[in-house]
């Protein structure tokens, strides 16, 4: 019999580690168990081709809460987030639309495409900033439970209402519209240029099973716009050394607080006895006991795979089965022999330093979605291409480059199921699209790792390969995330908690679910709260 811990966290993803670090900081004896032989979950840097480091799941960092960064002293533990300085969309006619770091250049580029849109961008920025400011209030807070009459929930509802009521009446309606509209229609309130519309729409479909014309996608814009690097709201960053640096810093911080991590330790069951958790069982048969067990796994996996159905209320089991977690994205990680050229761009263009996209119309974006609805990968996919080795010399040998390609859409399972051949065909579709805009790309290609939802599920454990551990639709947001009545990080049995992206505020490398769960656990244990309160810029 191994020693008993105060708490066991299942899964060493970034939220598991964040959660564990805050628990350890409060003086608990914490063990993190991880099925893989490395930590990080979907926040990793992996050497899958010699000399190259792939952030082979998540690939950019901006949503990570600065409050957590500071509270866990991640800078000292080696984390450095370098802001990205551009984004762009190639057009089919040989032109492109770029979004530049310098505000003057950004404006001139907008003017190059549409004088009106250049001016409308001012109104757009102000409006989106207003919604960002509102939503950011709720990230590091536990959602109130509408089914509860406890004072704490009433207080949280009051807080939520107070924040809403800081808006004017028409702004409240505008926010409700924003929250329920499609991204395409929302943007059409501001912009007229097709390439500009397509460029700004893309962020709203990343990771979702929705199209640019699906209601509810405008809100997803915030999930990608509310991140910040040093106060520049909406800017994205690379962590030096790849995303593994995030989990590495978290693990290092956790260990400094006295925490322990065991890899190659897959949990097969959460033990429950007398309506309380007593610990976990590993695949090896080993049992480890703890009064608190925190699952960083997605809610579907947690309740349908590692908990005994007999330990669960039937309605919870039903909700877990119905939890929507369809994967919709694929990923290519590519080792390049040199920097690919993009003939559309002028020499020295800074635009290769940022996100590169190839989908220049809303119609192409929507058609890519139609394919996914029919369980096909998009014939003309939306790709988010980055070459982080331009900033970060640690990712590839000198003169060589690493490219990461996020692909929307890719089905959970194409007709007849995934095979390696189909996976490679999917990858080829993407490679061909890039090569259309970069003639030397294929010659430079040394190695490509192709990942579909199947690979994501098998390797990282994300059910159906959903990158957000559950879709970001209204039924699964705020007090509905993951399930109504279970949105406060507590599981159905005493001592059992959830801390993954399946919980509020959802996916993205944010750390907020892990921190929020820690707050609730420490509260239940009557320990001092080590989690940070949100920074407030007003």
């Amino acid at each position: 019999m191994t020693k008993a811990y105060d708490a066991i966290v299942i899964g060493a993803g970034h939220n598991g580690l964040t959660n564990a670090a805050f628990l350890a900081k409060a003086g608990l004896d914490v063990l993190v168990v991880e099925k893989n032989n490395y930590v990080g979950g979907a926040t990793v840097s992996r050497e899958l081709h010699e000399g190259w480091k792939y952030s082979n799941c998540s690939y950019v960092c901006s949503l990570f809460r600065p409050e957590i960064y500071q509270a866990l002293d991640l800078g000292r533990h080696g984390l450095k987030v370098i802001p990205l300085t551009a984004s762009m969309t190639f057009k089919q006619d040989g032109d492109y639309f770029g979004s530049y770091y310098d505000s003057n250049v950004r404006r001139h580029e907008l003017m190059r495409h549409s004088m009106r849109d250049a001016d409308a961008a001012i109104r757009f920025d102000a409006d989106v900033m207003r919604w960002c400011k509102l939503i950011r209030n709720f990230l590091l807070r536990t959602p109130p439970d509408p089914g509860s009459f406890r004072p704490r929930d009433a207080f949280e509802f009051a807080y939520l209402l107070k924040k809403f009521y800081e808006l004017s009446e028409s702004q409240i309606y505008e926010f409700m519209r924003f929250f329920t509209m499609s991204i395409a229609e929302y943007l059409e309130n501001y912009f007229e240029n097709e390439a500009i519309l397509a460029h700004y729409s893309g962020g709203s479909i990343i990771g979702t099973g929705l199209g640019v014309y699906s209601p509810g996608t405008a809100y997803v814009l915030l999930h990608h716009a509310m991140g910040d690097v040093d106060g520049n709201i909406g800017s994205w960053g690379f962590s030096r050394g790849g995303m593994g640096a995030v989990s590495g810093a978290l693990a290092s911080s956790f260990k400094e607080y006295g925490g322990e991590i065991r890899t190659d330790a897959e949990v097969t069951q959460i033990r429950v006895s007398g309506k309380k958790t007593t610990g976990v069982v590993l695949a090896s048969g080993e049992e480890i006991s703890a009064k608190v067990v925190v699952s960083n796994l997605d809610a579907k996996r947690t309740f349908t795979k590692v908990m005994d159905p007999d330990d669960l209320p039937p309605e919870l089991l039903q909700r877990a089965k119905n939890f929507k977690i369809r994967g919709s994205s694929g990923k290519l990680n590519i080792a390049l022999d040199g920097m690919p050229t993009f003939p559309s761009l002028p020499k020295d263009s800074p635009l290769t330093l940022g996100h590169m996209h190839f989908t220049d119309t809303l119609k192409r974006l929507e058609k890519a979605y139609d394919d996914w609805k029919d369980d096909r990968w998009s014939a003309d996919p939306y790709c988010d291409v980055l070459i982080p080795s331009q900033y970060d010399p640690s990712l590839a040998p000198p003169g060589k480059h690493m490219m990461t390609v996020f692909v929307q859409y890719c089905p959970v399972e194409p007709e007849g199921g995934w095979t390696d051949e189909k996976r490679d065909q999917f990858g080829q579709t993407v490679i061909d699209q890039i090569a259309d805009y970069s003639p030397d790309f294929k010659d430079l290609l040394l190695h490509a790792e192709i990942r579909t939802p199947r690979e994501l599920e098998n390797e990282v454990g994300l059910t159906e390969g959903n990158i957000f551990q559950g879709e970001l639709t209204f039924d699964q947001l705020m007090f509905n995330r993951p399930f109504p009545g279970y949105a406060q990080y507590r599981g159905p049995v005493k001592g059992m908690y959830m801390c993954g992206s399946s919980t509020h505020p959802g996916g993205g490398v944010m750390g907020a679910p892990g921190a929020n769960a820690a707050r609730e656990i420490l509260r239940d244990l009557k320990r001092p709260d080590t989690t940070p309160v949100e920074f407030n810029d007003d």
Binding site: P146, G147, Y165, S168, E169, S170, I172, Y173, E174, M176, R177, T180, M181, E185, E188, N189, L210, Y213, S214, P215, G216, E315, N322, K324, K363, E366, K367, D370, K373, D374, T473, F474, D475, F479, N480, F483, P484, G485
Partner: protein, 519 residues
């Protein structure tokens, strides 16, 4: 002529008539101006030649609420809710499904689905009832609420939190804003059943089953079912139009047909009358527009009388019609494979699966017509034999998804497409093509022209969440009064939207009275 006019109502559609009749019953002098030659709008009858008659654009409906029936004495003027009908989900192989409000039966239906269906309907009808306070009242404002707004929200909160019970409330909060596709997949196995329910959620909207917001559109439709089951009237919807006209006229409303309003006259921010196309000017204390909000504000009021952002929000109102209407004059009764003659009195659906519906919808997104549209079919002559000569019949078919702005234009493609739809019907009723004597195909563009609904949208504006409740048709005019003093809206473009419910008209009348319209 009328000496003193309190209210002018622009458009004698059913909402205009409900509003007119309600106001007249308080002693107001009401003049209702209608541009076409008959009252009733989308519920007015139509004909092909002299012999074949159709019940109107809306060919089936739920009963009008008891309160409106009572208040406007509709029963006294000949309104009957009509015959309740079931829905038959057609199957090309003849294995049809018959779906009622509380039961479903048919070939190859699983026992699980058969048992799940009544419970499912019950739950969703309970949801619909819980949000009912929102429908019988003006949408509450979220700041500067008046007593009525607070009362509406309190009732809503009470119904949802205490009326439904904790678990049902959780379920309601979970599903309220999502798509019907996911909900139906959780509940049922049978494609026909899922598709038939999905049709009710999406018909009339530019949304597919997978579009978020389609549970809400279904709950909006279920508001009608609170009053009673889906019905076909023996006199067609024209019977409703007729009863409303009688009700209004008996209350003292003057209905003036063939009268086009060109402009709403405004001075110093207040509407004081209307200008007709013949140059006449009619003055009144309040002007109430049953025209769709976009035409009302953009054409009748004009952007110059509105603030910039408001005018822009008007221009952004989304609502492009996606349903065409096919009227068929038949020289005999069609035989549907696997259906008995008696079953033809029901509503028949061609929508074999949710994926089929979604595919049909996909085309409309790109202004294309699907080769495999969703069809909602009724045979009104089986309910009223006077609609067609002896032994002859009329068939009325809603065809979705048919875009308003078809690529390449309707002119060239209209009749080809109509024949495509007829031949699709022929797959279910093999003898149909040989029975067709004549047909009329109304594209959304035709509906726009003939029913004065901008872009041919049934509901005068999409019933998407961002255009519902206090955002319908747009904030700033969601409580029926508008930024122009003395100007009100009363049509389907307002909360709670389309369907032959009379609710927008009735709520608008209450608002006019509240704001002192009678004085």
């Amino acid at each position: 002529m009328i000496e003193r006019i309190d209210a002018i109502i622009i458009g004698a559609g059913h909402n205009g008539l409900v509003c007119a009749s309600t106001l007249a019953r308080t002693g107001m002098q009401v003049l209702c101006l209608e541009s076409s030659d008959s009252a009733g709008g989308m519920s007015a009858p139509r004909s092909i030649g002299e012999n074949y008659h159709f019940p109107g654009l809306a060919h089936a409906s739920y009963p009008v609420s008891a309160a409106i029936r009572r208040e406007l004495k509709l029963d006294q003027y000949g309104y009957v809710p009509g015959t309740a009908v079931d829905t038959i989900a057609l199957d090309a192989a003849g294995q049809h499904l018959t779906i009622g409000t509380d039961r479903v039966a048919g070939d190859n239906l699983s026992e699980a689905d058969e048992q799940a269906y009544p419970a499912f309907r019950k739950t969703y009808l309970a949801f619909a009832k819980a949000i009912r306070p929102l429908f019988d009242n003006k949408p509450p404002r979220l700041k500067d609420m008046d007593f009525a707004d607070t009362a509406t929200l309190a009732k809503l909160g009470w119904n949802v939190r205490l009326g439904l019970g904790r678990e049902t409330m959780y379920e309601f909060l979970r599903v309220a804003a999502i798509n019907i596709y996911d909900v139906l997949n959780e509940e049922f196995e049978d494609d026909r059943l899922k598709a038939a329910i999905a049709v009710d959620a999406i018909l009339g909207s530019a949304m597919g089953p997978r579009s978020p917001g389609t549970v809400l559109t279904w709950l909006q439709r279920l508001q009608g079912e609170i009053n009673g089951p889906l019905s076909l009237q023996s006199g067609g919807q024209a019977q409703l139009a007729h009863a409303l006209t009688q009700s209004a006229e008996s209350a003292g409303v003057t209905i003036q047909l063939n009268t086009h309003v060109e402009k709403i006259l405004i001075e110093n921010g207040k509407a004081f009358g209307v200008q007709l196309t013949n140059g006449d000017m009619v003055k009144a204390k309040v002007i109430i527009s049953n025209a769709d909000p976009r035409s009302t504000f953009s054409d009748l009021v004009g952007a110059p009388q509105l603030d910039t952002m408001f005018a822009n929000r008007v221009a952004q109102i989304r609502g492009s019609g996606v349903v065409a209407k096919l009227h068929l004059a038949l020289n005999g009764l069609p035989e549907f494979t696997g259906l008995a003659e008696s079953q033809l009195r029901n509503r028949l659906l061609v929508a074999p699966s949710m994926q089929y519906i979604e595919h049909a919808f996909n085309h409309s997104k790109y202004n294309e017509c699907s080769e495999n549209p969703v069809l909602e079919i009724t045979l009104p002559s089986l309910h009223n034999s006077s609609l067609a000569p002896d032994g002859h019949h009329v068939m009325s078919v809603n065809v979705a998804f048919v875009p308003y702005a078809l690529d390449g234009g309707w002119q060239q493609q209209k009749s080809t497409y109509a024949y495509k739809v007829i031949s699709l019907l022929g797959q279910y009723a093999p003898n149909l093509t040989s029975l067709v004597v004549d047909h009329e195909f109304l594209t959304p563009q035709d509906i726009e022209e003939q029913f004065h609904a901008v872009q041919g949208h049934w509901h005068h504006g999409e019933l998407s969440i961002h255009q519902s409740f206090m955002m319908r048709p747009l904030h700033g005019a969601a409580q029926y009064d508008t930024p122009v003093d003395g100007l009100f809206l009363c049509g389907a473009g307002c909360h709670p939207g389309g369907g032959l419910t009379g609710l927008p008209g009735h709520n608008a009348a209450k608002r006019v009275l509240k704001l002192g319209g009678a004085k």
